[in-house]
Each structure stands twice: as structure tokens, then as C-alpha cells.
């Protein structure tokens, strides 16, 4: 996948992207959450 044969590497590659995107979504959803 993505030109990378070893699943241990492309999973890490995709996980980096997804976790960064998850941080953006979490921060946006919680922007007015919980003074």
C-alpha cells in the first residue's frame, strides 16, 4: 500500500496521519468544553 510492502511500515505511516487528524478533530470538538 502507498508503495510500501511491509504492513508494519504502512500502518505506522497511516497511523501518524490519522492520529494527527484525530487531534485536530478532538481539539475542535472540545473547544468550548469544560472556566
Amino acid at each position: 500500500m502507498l508503495g510500501i510492502d511491509d504492513p508494519q511500515i504502512w500502518i505506522a505511516y497511516v497511523l501518524c496521519f490519522l492520529s494527527a487528524i484525530a487531534c485536530i478533530i478532538y481539539g475542535a470538538l472540545k473547544w468550548n468544553d469544560g472556566e
Partner: protein, 528 residues
């Protein structure tokens, strides 16, 4: 190669003027101890995220670990995933909110003070402060070397002068402006780093024909792995090293776990959770913190690995050969060769920002550790003068130690010095920090035992078992006549895999076997 152009000189000058302006604002806004030590406990979420990320990511991550990816491939991307999930998400949401609340309840102004007050122990505060004072200069010395080396290359300044110049510039705004100056300048430096690495990411993929084409070309290079590296487990730049080989153990235990877990117990990072006024700020900071780490570490490691394709296309050699066999020179060599001139200048500023933002946090943390935690609170039992004055003297002292180390440390030490400090922090601090904020039953005896066991087990493993460190120290050879007491796979295993679990077990057993801390004190610590 010297890029001594007027444009670079003007860029550095403008950057320095802005840094000093922010340092001056920090000085003007510092009215009391909370301001100097914790930036007044009211930091903005974007400043927190950029400051946390910029303090965490130094030239060590970009040059040292980026070069490691150039030599050994993309397996190091697991560290990026760990850094985002554990180092940002879990750290801010789970550890951060409890740390902030307990720090405010106990009126703690440093990480060792938070732990010391949680367990009502000046010994824990003093010992932790001493540990930071003794070992953090090793990490700061490594970052100082990284910063000074490229000032030498880019500005044509002599190396020893560059070390001194860098230390004096950072010292000036840290000593005068305290943590407000540190975090404001961090935010500027973090923004520069984000932009620089973002451009590098796009330019690299564009140059190599797109994402899939670049990766496929790197995958197809697997047969070109040098025989000596293949023999110790290297299988290619888009595959993990062979399970259980020396390369695999170094990657998984020292780099992925050592740095990935060690980040949770970094005093200069944990203290930032106490600089915000509420939990909402921590949640907001996740929004920019996650992408920032991806853009720093993720891009450095992907580009480092892909530099092999560029060097093969243009020179017919792999990256390690293009850099003359020196891992630390892979990234600079790639940037100088592959990138347009205007970007090389901007990237040098990015690296200068990365070095300065990490150094400023280290100087502030070391100064508070020796001045406030060790000298004022432990040795003098809190009965001594003004915290800010003593901390300023502490910062000046530890800067001198770091500069001396930067002159003395051997070459190629940057990434290893960083990993050693991260691993030591994980073993010494993580059990009593985690237990302290999550487990009410954890008591002073358990914390003291885990601090001592974690520290000395880590140091013992480094001195007598870990192949690279033990053989270069020579202590084991002098006492026992052998480089390492154990042989085989054990010599590649990082101390974090041995000392940290041991310290956790000791913390739990000793806490359960001894009397709990007074209930009213524990209630104060955990008060909502």
C-alpha cells in the same frame, strides 16, 4: 559548504531582534514567582501547544533521528505515532489535567516540587532536582552541539565561538524573562519550524514524483542495503528490521520505547501543564499539538528515509554513503544538495529555532532544579531569600556546565545523549509521577523507593550492561575486566525496558506494605 550570503545574515538578524523583543516582553510581564516559574498560570492554548512541541523537538529529532531514518528506514515512524498518541493526546488529556489541578492545589512551581509536595518529602524534591541538574546538561550539551555545528557550517563561525554565542543568546532571555519569555519565544520558533518542515515535506515528494512513486522507488532499493548493515538486521528502508536483531532492539527499545515513553516524564514538558488556567486550555492545545509533532518528527523521518531515492537518482549511492558514513550529516547533505537556495536559508533558521527553543526550556528547568528544588527547598529547607534570584543564579551555573560538556562530548553523540536522558527520566520519575496523580494509595515510602531503584537500576544498566555506553565509559572494564557483564542480546536492550518496570513494581509493593499518607493531605492533593 558556507552559505555566507547577506540574505542569511539579514534573516538571522531579524529573527534575533524578534526573539529579544519577545524576551523583553517576558521580562516586563514578570512580576512575581508564579510569573517567572510558570508564566503566570494563564498561557494561551496555541502558545502551550507550540511551546510544548518546540521544547520537545530539537535539532536532535530533525538532524539526529532524521539521519537515523536515512540510514535505517521508516521503522522509526512508530516513534511519531507514539509521540502523537502518548506524547500529546494522553499527556495533555490524561496526565495534563491532573498535573495542572494538583500543581494548583499544592502551589507547586516546578515538576520536582509537585512530586515532593504530593508525597510531603523534601528529599524527593531535592533528589529529583539534583538528578536533573546532573544529567540534563548531557541532553542540553547534545542540543548545543547540534545548534553550534550548523551555525559553524552556515555562518562560517568557528565551532567554539558558536557554542558560546548560542548559549549566551539563549541565557540572556531565559535569565531575565523567565518562563514567559521562554514560552513566547518558543511559540515564534515553533511557528517557524512548522512552516520550514511543511515546505520540506511538499518539496521532497514533488521532487521524487509523488507519494506512491517515491515510496515504490525506496522499496525497490532494498537489495542495496550494505552487507554489514544487512548482517545486523537491516532489511530495507520501507520494512522493519529483522525481529530480535541488534538493529531491531535499538530501534524498538532505545528509540521507540525510550523516547516514546520517556516524554511523559520530562520535567521541562510536564511543568507546562501547570502553566494553564483550566483543563479546557489543555484540550484546545491538542488541536495544534498533534499536527505539530507530525510536521516535525514525521516529516524529518519520512524525508530522511526518502533522501536515499534522491541520492541514488543523482549520485548512484545510498544516503549513508552520500554523507560519508556519518548519520548526523545525512539531513544537512540532503537539504544542501536537493533544495533551492532560498529554502536552505529558511531551513537553517528553522534549525536555529529548534535548537534555541529546546535549550531555553532546558536552561529554565535546570536552573529551577538546582536553585529552587535542590538548594532552596532541600538544602536550606525553604528558609532562604527570593526564589527568582536563586533560580537566576542556578540557570547561570547550569549553562556553564552545559557549555563545558558541549566542548568535551565526543562527535556523533546527539541522538544517544537525548535517548539516555529520556530513558533515565522514565525510570526515575514516571512511576512516582503516574502513581502520584492516579493512585491515592501511593505513598512517600513507595515513591522514594521507586525513585532510588529507577535511578540506580538505570545507571547500573548503562554502566555495566548496555554495549554502547558501558564500553565507552570503561568503568566495567576497569572493575571486572570485561566491557559488559552480560553478553548477547542483553547488550542491545535499553535500560528503560529493565529499570522502568522494576521501579513500577517496587513503587506498588512498597506502597502496599507501608502506612498510607494522611487522608486529609491526599484529599487536598486530589481536590477537584
Amino acid at each position: 559548504m558556507t552559505l555566507n550570503t547577506p540574505l542569511l545574515g539579514i534573516s538571522v538578524l531579524i529573527y534575533m531582534i524578534v526573539v529579544f523583543y519577545l524576551g523583553w516582553i517576558g521580562y516586563k510581564q514578570t512580576k512575581n514567582t508564579d510569573d517567572y516559574m510558570l508564566a503566570g498560570r494563564k498561557v494561551n492554548p496555541f502558545v502551550l501547544a507550540l511551546s510544548y512541541g518546540a521544547a520537545f523537538i530539537s535539532t536532535s529529532a530533525i538532524i539526529g533521528f532524521g539521519g537515523y531514518a536515512g540510514a535505517f528506514g521508516m521503522g522509526v515512524l512508530w516513534l511519531v505515532a507514539m509521540n502523537i498518541i502518548l506524547g500529546i493526546f494522553i499527556a495533555f488529556i490524561v496526565f495534563g489535567s491532573r498535573t495542572r489541578r494538583m500543581g494548583a492545589n499544592l502551589k507547586a512551581v516546578t515538576f520536582p516540587e509537585l512530586i515532593g509536595k504530593r508525597y510531603r518529602s523534601r528529599f524527593i524534591q531535592g533528589f529529583s532536582g539534583a538528578l536533573i541538574t546532573i544529567f540534563m546538561p548531557l541532553y542540553a550539551g547534545g542540543v548545543l552541539i547540534g545548534g553550534a555545528r550548523f551555525m559553524e557550517v552556515a555562518l562560517g563561525i568557528e565551532y567554539n565561538t558558536a557554542v558560546m554565542l548560542l548559549a549566551v543568546i539563549v541565557a540572556a532571555y531565559v535569565i531575565t524573562g523567565g518562563l514567559i519569555a521562554v514560552m513566547y519565544t518558543d511559540a515564534l520558533q515553533g511557528a517557524l519550524m512548522f512552516l520550514g518542515m511543511g515546505i520540506l515535506f511538499v518539496l521532497t515528494y514533488a521532487k521524487l514524483g509523488g507519494v506512491v512513486k517515491a515510496h515504490q522507488a525506496l522499496t525497490d532499493m532494498a537489495p542495496l542495503v550494505p552487507a554489514n548493515l544487512a548482517a545486523i538486521g537491516h532489511t530495507g528502508w520501507t520494512s522493519m528490521p529483522a525481529l530480535g536483531t541488534p538493529v531491531w532492539w535499538t530501534l524498538v527499545s532505545t528509540i521507540i520505547l525510550g523516547v516514546g515513553i520517556g516524554v511523559l516524564a520530562q520535567p521541562q514538558l510536564a511543568v507546562r501543564f501547570m502553566t494553564v488556567k483550566d483543563t479546557r486550555t489543555l484540550k484546545r492545545a491538542v488541536l495544534s499539538g498533534g499536527p505539530f509533532i507530525f510536521m516535525m518528527a514525521g516529516v524529518a523521518y519520512i524525508v530522511g528515509a526518502l533522501s536515499n531515492v534522491y541520492f541514488m537518482d543523482t549520485r548512484g549511492v545510498i544516503a549513508l554513503d552520500a554523507a560519508g558514513g556519518n548519520i548526523d550529516k545525512i539531513m544537512p547533505e540532503y537539504i544542501y544538495s536537493a533544495m533551492p537556495d532560498y529554502f536552505v536559508i529558511f531551513f537553517l533558521l528553522t534549525l536555529l529555532a529548534a535548537a534555541m527553543s529546546t535549550l531555553s526550556s532546558q536552561f529554565h528547568t535546570m536552573g529551577t532544579a538546582i536553585g529552587h528544588d535542590f538548594y532552596r527547598e532541600f538544602l536550606m529547607k525553604g528558609k532562604l531569600g527570593n526564589t527568582i534570584t536563586i533560580t537566576r543564579m542556578g540557570i547561570a551555573t547550569t549553562i556553564i556546565i552545559s557549555v563545558a560538556l558541549a566542548y568535551k562530548l565526543p562527535p556523533g553523540i546527539i541522538a544517544r545523549a537525548t535517548a539516555i536522558f529520556f530513558g533515565l527520566c522514565a525510570a526515575a520519575f514516571l512511576p512516582m509521577y503516574t502513581g502520584g496523580i492516579f493512585w491515592k494509595r501511593m505513598n512517600r515510602q513507595g515513591a522514594t523507593a521507586s525513585l532510588l531503584v529507577g535511578t540506580f537500576a538505570s545507571l547500573f544498566w548503562l554502566t555495566f550492561v548496555n554495549g554502547k555506553v558501558a564500553s565507552s565509559l570503561g568503568i566495567s572494564k576497569a572493575i571486572f575486566g570485561v566491557d559488559t557483564l552480560l553478553t548477547g542480546t542483553w547488550t542491545f536492550v535499553d535500560p528503560i525496558l529493565v529499570a522502568t518496570p522494576l521501579a513500577f513494581i517496587v513503587a506498588i509493593i512498597v506502597s502496599l506494605m507501608t502506612r498510607p499518607d494522611p487522608e486529609e493531605h491526599v484529599e487536598l492533593c486530589f481536590k477537584k
